[in-house]
Symmetry: C2
Subunit: 401 residues, 2 copies
Amino acid sequence: MNIINGGVTAPKGFSAAGAACGLKKNGKKDLALVCSDDLAVASGVFTTNVVKGHSLQVTMEHIKCGYARAIVINSGNANACVGESGYLDAKEIARLAAELLDCETENVLVGSTGVIGMPLNMTCVKSGVRTAIATLSPDGGHDAMEAIMTTDLVPKEIAVELEIQGEKVTIGGMAKGSGMIHPNMATMIGVITTDANISRSLMDKALKDIVKYTFNRVSVDGDTSVCDMVLMLANGEAENEGIIKEASIEYRDFKQALELVCTALSRMIAQDGEGATKLVEISASGAASEEDAYKIVSSIARSPLVKTAIFGEDANWGRIITAAGYSGAEFDPNLVDIHIGNLMVCRNGAALPFDEAKAKQILKEREIKISINVKKGNFKDRMWTCDFSCDYVKINASYRS
Amino acid sequence: MNIINGGVTAPKGFSAAGAACGLKKNGKKDLALVCSDDLAVASGVFTTNVVKGHSLQVTMEHIKCGYARAIVINSGNANACVGESGYLDAKEIARLAAELLDCETENVLVGSTGVIGMPLNMTCVKSGVRTAIATLSPDGGHDAMEAIMTTDLVPKEIAVELEIQGEKVTIGGMAKGSGMIHPNMATMIGVITTDANISRSLMDKALKDIVKYTFNRVSVDGDTSVCDMVLMLANGEAENEGIIKEASIEYRDFKQALELVCTALSRMIAQDGEGATKLVEISASGAASEEDAYKIVSSIARSPLVKTAIFGEDANWGRIITAAGYSGAEFDPNLVDIHIGNLMVCRNGAALPFDEAKAKQILKEREIKISINVKKGNFKDRMWTCDFSCDYVKINASYRS
């Protein structure tokens, strides 16, 4: 398995485009199209927020048929909470793209990300769809990536290739997400493409298994958006015989490659969290149950006090044990060990004298690992987050304007 | 019922002091003592964090006897997570104060607030206890208040007087708390004194009923500290006949006055949240259950995106409905109404055109009310929080240093 250049258009038979249609005030690209030459099996994971964006709702309907040709995503407007017209607009985007691509409306998936509560400017969007389709290119992955960015500073894409059943299979992915990010589903928008020949049910299973421990283990600010989803298309153009059995080498290899793609994109999202200066990986071990392990990492990853301390490069582990303590997980505080990087700062719930200079050195890095062992059971979990800086506040204080 | 000047020493028979014993690096007061002339009935509410500060643990033990003479609270060090010596130190503080005040050790309650994981400097603390006891004064309430402040900018105290059973009864209170504040118990340190003659069981009931909807409805940052508690002493020196029946006018009046004290202190805490520029009151109505109402207000009050938008005076109600949507409460997003102040911004889950200038005017105020009605049932709740500014990050990025 190799990481290669490119993103969603790295697999065979995919093209993409990004157009600037006027939804973003700064004139940047705001309409992305990812298209498979032929009908691809499609799978998706969606936000658990009870409030759901209109475009996302349409995609949840369309994906039920199991096949898709294209994904249209606009940034700059979430198409959420605008009433019935939001649903009709999303349908119209799919209908128009389907007409131009000569496929069924339900084979077009749509997504929107941006400000909530403002009607889509459909004149812009329609012209964007036309431009994107006119400029579709096998090299268009990066343009599509740029067109889904909102407060993202860094484009997020990756591609890997591996051999399955004697054929070269490629998986590519792109994601956007920087704020309003916390697990309870995809927590961002992600598009993954592959030319693998794989059954829809196995792709769906692989995607859902992996999303749980990758995209759903990223927290930037504890907010779960109404538009978040990860969509995956597989068009079979690699012409491998077919991944159809779960208990097979080809499924295991495929899943491993998909996990690499999802892990890389998830870490990119945490690293590019709004205002972030550091990627932080929180690990918990020794938890009494799977739920407790999750509660602990999630509580620490969400704590503004932990995150501001990391921003300040301050080894304030008291805030880490505090966040674990109110997480709802059961454990004996007198058994807890905490490491920052490879430096143990707390043993059996009590302070351990440590070298502040060494702690400072660890915390100066761009990537920080925090581990907590509550020594109650055998369950563990891991989550990615980022530090919390003044810039987070600046970015979000006037997002609408 | 009248609000009067003063705090914990406003009721008859209470004296207090605040000493600077060297725990705070800046030389400010850091040891508070509140003392009743005679043994008082005592009640307390404590953090639900499974990690508990050593001083708090000693107080939880001592308060079981139901009576107390004095409360000693140090700031500058949380006396938490330092191992067995932390418990012994807290015991020693109580023992020393008891010796000097000529009472039983278990009649002294202790509290600590500040940095976690550093052993208390007992030389400082002991000298502070001696100084405080030597300077105890019926006018010392404000000094005690200052001595419990950490990142608080504003002292928080209030007193009310009312007539019960023909006698003037006074209730006084002080509180500290600015960061690491989220409900799941007292979420700060509060001390309430009264000269009322009231049974311990009724005082305990009144305190616990009221704390639930006052101190436990304040969220600054979603973090629940390991040292938080509210302690209450009643010494009976008002010489009212006695509040001993729940179904009585005197209990109703007493509870109303206590509620006013707790409400005022709670709002002061939210208003003085770290870096805060605004007090925000979040109300939910129409929830399907008590739990759902709480989930909604708590989720909105905790959302960094809602709070940064309020800091930026941006009527970004999409973030409000989003936070309600991921709160775990059940409701139909298509029925939700949202008001910012008296301005309706969302009706039946969809944007309502509103006057941005008017919204800006409302958001420029020092106090902002946000109301959400999910129209599913008859339950409601209310929580106080503050906005989220750059200063929160600055304050917390280097708290230990």
